[in-house]
C-alpha cells in the first residue's frame, strides 16, 4: 500500500477530495443510525439520548405505518418501472420508424422538455390543472356541465396522477436512451429481413425488440435497486402536507421528511430510514444473486 501510494502519489491526491466527499456525505452519517434505537432528546445528542432498543421499529410496525409505507413505495415504483420502460420503448420504436427528420427532431425535443423543469414547477402545473375553483380540468368539465370535481380531496385519483406525472416527466429521458440503442442496431439486419419479405411489424417484433433487451435489463436492474427509494420530489411537491391524501400517496421518503421537519420524531424517522436502507440493500443483493445465477453478463457486480 505504501509503495503504491508513493508511486501514484499524484493520482491518490486527485482522488482524495472525492473520497473525503463520500466519507462526509455518506459514511459518517451511517454512525447516526444509532438514533433509530434511542428516544432522541435535543440536549443529549447522539450518545446522550436514552437507548430504547427496538421500540421505534415496534411502534412503526404496530401502527401499520411500516406496512402501508412499504406497499405504497414498492407499488408506485413497480408501476413506474413497468409503465415507464414500456412507454419509452414503444415511443422510441415509433419515433425511430418516422422518416421526416425535422418532425422527429422537434417531437423528441418536446418530449424531453419536461425532464428539465423543476418539481416545484410541476406542482404549479398540477395546481393549474386540478385546483377546485379555476383548474383547467374543472373549467373544461364545467363547460360540459359535469363538474367541478374536488380533485385535491380525492385520494384515489392521485394514484393515477402521480404515475402520469412521473411518466410525463421521465418519458423523454428514457426514450433517448432506447433511441440510442436502436440507432446502434446494424442496418444489415433490417436489409436481410426486408429481402426475406418481412413487413414493418415483423421487423420491429423480431429485430428491434430483442435487440433492446440488454438496455432494458440494465435499466431494470438499476431501478430495482432503488425500489425502496421513492421519487421524493415528485411526491412531496404534488401532495405536500395534504393529509387527506396520505393513505394513498405516502412513501417512506415523504414520511421521513415530515417526521424530521414537522413532528421532530427523530428516532422514528431514523428507524424508518434504516428500514428503507436495509430492505433495499437485501433486495439488491438478492436480485443480483439471482441474475448472476441466470446470466452472469447482466449482473450488476
Amino acid at each position: 500500500m505504501l509503495k503504491e501510494l508513493n508511486k501514484n502519489k499524484i493520482m491518490f491526491l486527485m482522488l482524495l477530495p472525492t473520497l473525503i466527499f463520500f466519507l462526509i456525505n455518506s459514511y459518517f452519517p451511517m454512525v447516526g443510525i444509532y438514533y433509530a434505537f434511542t428516544r432522541y432528546d435535543f440536549e443529549g445528542g447522539l450518545f446522550g439520548s436514552p437507548f430504547v432498543g427496538l421500540e421505534n421499529f415496534k411502534f412503526l410496525w404496530q401502527s401499520g405505518m411500516l406496512l402501508k409505507l412499504t406497499t405504497n413505495t414498492v407499488g408506485y415504483n413497480l408501476a413506474f418501472i413497468i409503465l415507464g420502460n414500456g412507454l419509452a420503448i414503444f415511443c422510441a420504436i415509433l419515433l425511430s420508424e418516422i422518416r421526416g427528420k425535422v418532425f422527429k427532431k422537434i417531437t423528441q425535443s418536446v418530449m424531453f422538455l419536461p425532464y428539465f423543469i423543476s418539481f416545484v414547477l410541476l406542482s404549479v402545473i398540477a395546481y393549474n390543472m386540478f385546483n377546485y375553483e379555476s383548474g383547467f380540468v374543472n373549467t373544461v368539465l364545467k363547460r360540459f356541465e359535469a363538474g367541478p370535481v374536488d380533485i385535491y380531496n380525492t385520494p384515489w385519483i392521485w394514484v393515477f396522477l402521480i404515475i402520469i406525472f412521473y411518466l410525463w416527466k421521465n418519458l423523454g429521458y428514457s426514450m433517448v436512451i432506447y433511441l440510442a440503442a436502436i440507432t446502434g442496431i446494424s442496418d444489415e439486419y433490417y436489409e436481410a429481413a426486408r429481402i426475406d419479405g418481412a413487413n414493418i411489424f415483423q421487423r420491429i417484433w423480431y429485430i428491434t425488440v430483442p435487440m433492446l433487451k440488454p438496455t432494458f435489463v440494465i435499466l431494470l436492474l438499476f431501478s430495482l435497486g432503488s425500489i425502496m427509494k421513492g421519487q421524493f420530489d415528485l411526491f412531496y411537491q404534488l401532495i405536500g402536507n395534504n393529509g387527506v391524501l396520505y393513505n394513498a400517496t405516502d412513501i417512506i421518503d415523504t414520511y421521513v421528511y415530515r417526521s424530521l421537519k414537522v413532528t421532530f420524531d427523530i428516532g422514528m424517522a431514523t428507524a424508518a430510514g434504516l428500514y428503507q436502507s436495509l430492505f433495499g440493500f437485501i433486495l439488491i443483493m438478492t436480485v443480483n444473486y439471482i441474475i448472476r445465477k441466470v446470466n452472469e453478463d447482466y449482473a450488476l457486480f
Binding site: S134, V176, S277
Partner: protein, 279 residues
C-alpha cells in the same frame, strides 16, 4: 400517436404561460384557459413590485449553480480519470467505496443532523453547494466516457514525454472528454438550478433562499392567504391578483431553462447516448 404525446408534453407549459398573461379576474371567473381570454400583465407587475427578493433568489441560484457545477466537474473528471487508469492498483477498491453508497446509507435524518449540528452548515453557501457536488452515477458515467474517449496509448506516450498524472489529466484528457464533460456539467447545473430541497432543510434566512424554494414558498403563502380570505369572507383576491401572480412567478423562475433548453438539449442527448448505453 407521437403527435398526441408531444402535445400532452407541451400543453401544461402553455396553460401556465397563458395563465401568467391573463387578468386575475378572468381566471377567477372562468378558470384557466389554453389562451388568455383577457390579456393582462398584472401578474408580472405584481412579481416585480418588490424585485429585491426575486433578484436575491436569482443571485443565490446563479452563484451556487456556477460554483457547484465548476467544482463538481473538476472533482468528477479527476476521479473518473484516476478510476479508469489500469495502472492504478486500488481502482476497484475505491470504485466500490463510491458505489457502495448507493446500496446502503444512514438515511435522511442522520445526514441532516450531522451537517446541521456537527458541521454547523445551517444558513451557509457551503451547504447549498456541497451535497450536490457529485453522485456515484455521474462518476461512473464520466469514468466510462473517459475510458472510451481517451486511448491508453495516449496516456502512456504522454507519460514517456515526462508529463505527470495531473498534467496528463489537465492537458490531454480534459480536451478529449469534452462531450462527456458537457453532459455531466448539464446534469450538475440542472440539479443546482432545480434544487429546492437543500433550502427547505438548511436555510432559514430568506435572503439565501434558492430560486425554486422561493417559488415554492410564494405559492404556499399566496394559497394560504387565499384560504384565509375564503374562511373570513374577505375577498383579498380582488386587490391582489393571486392566480396570475402565481403563474407569472412560475414563468419568471423557469424562464432561463426554457430559453436555454434548445441549445443545451443537443449536448445532453449526445452525451447520454455515448456514456450511458455502454454502461
Amino acid at each position: 400517436m407521437i403527435l398526441i404525446l408531444s402535445l400532452i408534453c407541451i400543453i401544461p407549459f402553455l396553460l401556465i404561460l397563458s395563465g401568467s398573461f391573463s387578468s386575475n379576474e378572468s381566471i377567477v371567473r372562468e378558470g384557466y384557459h389554453l389562451f388568455p381570454t383577457d390579456f393582462s400583465l398584472e401578474g408580472y407587475k405584481m412579481v416585480f413590485k418588490f424585485p429585491t427578493q426575486v433578484l436575491k433568489a436569482y443571485g443565490v441560484t446563479i452563484f451556487t449553480t456556477i460554483v457547484g457545477t465548476a467544482l463538481g466537474l473538476f472533482l468528477i473528471t479527476m476521479a473518473g480519470f484516476v478510476l479508469q487508469r489500469k495502472d492504478f492498483r486500488y481502482r476497484n477498491v475505491f470504485s466500490f467505496f463510491i458505489y457502495f453508497t448507493t446500496l446502503f446509507g444512514g438515511g435522511l435524518v442522520p445526514w441532516y443532523i450531522m451537517l446541521a449540528n456537527y458541521f454547523n452548515l445551517t444558513d451557509t453557501y457551503t451547504v447549498l453547494i456541497f451535497p450536490g457536488l457529485m453522485t456515484p452515477f455521474l462518476i461512473i458515467l464520466m469514468k466510462n466516457f473517459i475510458r472510451s474517449a481517451v486511448p491508453d496509448e495516449l496516456i502512456e506516450s504522454a507519460k514517456i514525454d515526462g508529463a505527470n498524472d495531473f498534467r496528463i489529466y489537465f492537458s490531454v484528457v480534459l480536451k478529449l472528454a469534452m462531450p462527456g464533460i458537457a453532459t455531466v456539467g448539464l446534469f450538475l447545473a440542472l440539479g443546482y438550478w432545480n434544487d429546492w430541497f437543500t433550502s427547505s432543510l438548511f436555510i432559514n434566512n430568506p435572503d439565501m433562499y434558492q430560486l425554486q424554494f422561493y417559488l415554492y414558498n410564494t405559492m404556499n403563502t399566496i394559497t394560504f392567504i387565499d384560504q384565509m380570505a375564503i374562511g373570513t369572507g374577505i375577498t383579498l383576491s380582488q386587490d391582489v391578483p393571486t392566480e396570475s401572480t402565481k403563474m407569472a412567478m412560475a414563468i419568471v423562475v423557469t424562464g432561463p431553462i426554457l430559453f436555454l433548453y434548445p441549445f443545451v438539449q443537443r449536448y445532453f442527448v449526445k452525451g447520454l447516448t455515448i456514456g450511458a448505453v455502454k454502461g
